[in-house]
């Protein structure tokens, strides 16, 4: 019996050139089938990433049924259509839909996490998500509202709770994850992000206020200069945003993985903030320069960043010793709803 604890690095073995061909061929097939193939394309793209992710010599697998995804897409697409059409013509209905969506967030998030985990497999066993809708209500609605009421003071705590909801409720086989992180890391993260964004944000707000004042009292010259300040502020804000997002995402990963256990396994996150920020900026520039054609390479670079900087620590017996748990089917509607409305269910 080998009880020695070792470091097992996760590895992403996909390549940008190969994924580009898969991406473009599946895109063309989606167009040629008027969108029906999109569900199959989605599963194929997602499987490319999971099947090229390896831990200790064994890859992951993604087994969602495209037919379920197509059904979910139709439901979500209908809702999305109603939303975009009504936002231009019946703003009241659009607002009502947004409120309904906000209230349904806990359900959508939980279902989507369940669905994703259920169809992700490794060594013949399924992952699971055990979080309940009730818990999600607390984490997303209650703490979300509280961070608004406290003018953002509770926002880092809300994010800490969201991370805990995500990281502490997963399972593999019959084993469960545990999350024992502390809120402090999230406060520190928010302070740094705030420091990064405060100048561009201040400039933007000053510009907007200045334009309003100039419109009421000043002449066209003041209007022009204030307009310039506003545009500069907005531009700077959007240019700084990837910096802040990259920093927060990398630090969240550090905080999350270092405080999460799965059975006897520990995680080590070596996700450097600067490296992620570099990937973000270079991806953005190359995607713009190539009118979007760089996108597959960009995704592969991100996958490599996330996986190649993550280690699992445990003994070989720990890795081999997971056993199956009973599981049930999950509906695809929740997953696709989150997808179409752009709710980021990942750990940020």
């Amino acid at each position: 019996m080998d009880q020695e604890r070792r470091v097992y690095p996760l590895q992403f073995t996909g390549s940008g050139g190969e994924y580009f061909r898969i991406w473009i061929v599946n895109l063309a097939l989606t167009i040629l089938t008027l969108g029906i193939y999109s569900a199959w394309a989605k599963v194929r793209r997602k499987r490319y990433f999971t099947q090229h992710s390896y831990l200790a010599g064994h890859n992951f697998d993604y087994l969602a049924n495209p037919v379920n995804i197509l059904k979910g897409r139709l439901i979500a697409g209908a809702l999305f259509l109603i939303y975009v059409l009504s936002s231009k013509t019946m703003p009241m209905l659009a607002q009502a839909l947004l409120v309904a969506l906000f209230l349904a967030t806990p359900w959508i998030v939980t279902r989507s996490l369940q669905f994703n985990a259920h169809y992700t497999r490794h060594r013949g066993l399924s992952f699971h998500f055990h979080g309940t809708v009730g818990e999600a209500v607390k984490v997303y609605i209650m703490w979300g509202l509280l961070s608004v009421i406290t003018l953002g003071l509770a926002a880092p705590y809300a994010m800490y709770r969201r991370t805990g909801f995500y990281a502490g409720n997963h399972g593999f086989g019959s084993s469960r994850t545990e999350f024992n992180g502390r809120p402090w890391a999230f406060y520190k993260m928010f302070l740094v992000a705030l420091a990064l964004l405060i100048v561009p944000f201040g400039l933007m707000v000053a510009g907007v206020a200045g334009v309003a004042v100039a419109k009421a009292h000043g002449g066209p010259d003041m209007m022009k200069s204030m307009g310039l300040v506003m545009v500069a502020g907005i531009l700077l804000f959007y240019l700084t945003l990837p910096l802040a997002i990259g920093y927060v995402r990398a630090r969240t990963a550090n905080a999350m993985f270092s405080s999460t256990r799965l059975g006897a396994l520990d995680f080590v996150s070596r996700h450097g903030a600067w490296r992620l920020i570099g990937v973000y900026y270079s991806n953005l520039i190359l995607i713009i320069l190539t009118l979007g054609l760089f996108t597959p390479w960009a995704q592969v670079r991100l996958a490599r960043y996330w996986l190649d900087n993550l280690d699992v620590v445990g003994s070989e017996d720990d890795l081999d010793g997971f056993v199956a748990a009973a599981s049930d089917e999950v509906n695809a509607a929740g997953l696709e709803m989150a997808d179409v409305f752009d709710i980021d269910v990942a750990f940020t």
């Binding site: 895109l27 063309a28 989606t30 040629l32 969108g35 995607i287 713009i288």
Partner: protein
């Protein structure tokens, strides 16, 4: 057929090396491992699709799954079991650079066609389904927003406003087929000399434009152009088309995250501006017909357009594919070409 693989039994994460044996026609797949022999009914076997360089997975139902690198054997098994034919073809395409190039051409061509023709066509069909009242609401909201951020109250004398209103009302009464409209005057503020049609039929003309015009005929020409937008319900059509494009973009690129959205949005913006370009040409044609039937020379509108362009310093330098209005020179020559007044018109109608 014989090949080696790793078996995961679906009960634990422990890998088990096995030799897989199957003779076509036999009812069971035989797995030979260290601990003995296991028979899997062939009906339960499903060979996973091949994808990139990834190890191949063969699903065995209750017996778990096999993972192997022997794609030739897995493909042969899949063929024998008549499985995964469509995805084998997809994999064949995915490996070829020529197929990728072809797919790229198809995607770009279809994307261009969709945004440029299919979406506007669909939007034009959908417009009649939207009640006019909804559109009017939207127009009122737009005007009050513009009043706060851009416009100032008009300084044009009431008598002058009435003259222009009457001229348009008289022309419309004579022609009898104007869409429902309401004419408003505003000080243009930052946007200067301009006229616009808001959804629901509100026409806004700025004081600066009235000052720029040399005759009321020119102003009627501009208002006829805006009426063309109202008659075609262009704002609504544009809104519907861009919503549709946004949704299709989401289906195609939805799982790419924010980076993908950006890339899908970029070409869409370029094509969307040229969609409004078509609508400008349509409104010009409307104005031209309107003026000819009302015994007015469309060249008057062309004159005002030229004066507008020489007044603004930048517009002449913007390349056509980036600007929402067609190049003025093209519009002017279209307006001036073959201007024959209607048969009921007298010999003169000089401005």
């Amino acid at each position: 057929m014989i090949f080696t693989a790793l078996q995961f039994d679906g009960l634990s994460s422990q890998p088990r090396p096995v030799r897989v044996e199957w003779r076509p026609g036999e009812g069971d797949l035989v797995l030979v491992g260290e601990s003995g022999e296991q028979r899997v009914p062939i009906g339960a076997v499903r060979v996973g699709d091949r994808l990139g360089q990834a190890a191949r997975i063969i699903y065995l139902g209750a017996a778990g799954e096999l993972v192997c690198e022997d794609h030739a054997a897995a493909d042969a098994l899949a063929r024998r079991l008549a499985q995964g034919g469509a995805m084998r073809a997809v994999f064949w395409l995915e490996r070829r650079y020529l197929a990728a190039l072809l797919a790229l051409l198809v995607s770009v061509a279809a994307g261009w066609y969709g945004l440029r023709h299919a979406m506007p066509w669909l939007a034009a069909r959908a417009v009649p389904m939207v009640p006019v009242g909804v559109e009017a609401d939207l127009g009122r909201q737009t005007l009050s927003a513009l009043d706060v951020y851009v416009f100032h109250p008009s300084r044009l004398p009431a008598a002058r406003q009435a003259t222009i209103r009457n001229a348009l009302a008289t022309a419309c009464a004579r022609l009898g087929d104007c869409p429902h409209y309401r004419l408003e005057f505003r000080d243009g503020g930052q946007i200067g000399a301009n006229a616009m049609a808001l959804p629901g039929g509100t026409l806004v003309m700025t004081d600066e434009l009235v000052a720029l015009a040399h005759s009321d005929t020119e102003l009627i020409g501009v208002l006829a152009h805006e009426l063309g937008h109202v008659a075609g319900r262009h704002t609504l059509r544009n809104a519907l088309a861009s919503s549709g494009a946004l949704m299709v973009g989401h289906v195609l690129f939805g799982d790419l995250g924010s980076l993908g959205d950006l890339s899908s949005g970029l070409p869409a913006v370029l094509l969307q501006t040229s969609y409004t370009r078509d609508m400008e040409a349509e409104a010009d044609a409307y104005a031209r017909r309107f003026m000819l039937r009302d015994c007015l020379p469309p060249a008057a509108l062309a004159d005002l357009l030229l004066r507008l362009e020489s007044g603004s310093k930048v517009s002449g330098k913007v390349p056509e594919f980036l600007s929402s209005h067609p190049l003025t020179a093209d519009r002017v020559s279209a307006l001036r070409s073959g201007a024959v007044l209607g048969p009921d018109c007298g010999p003169v109608a000089t401005p």
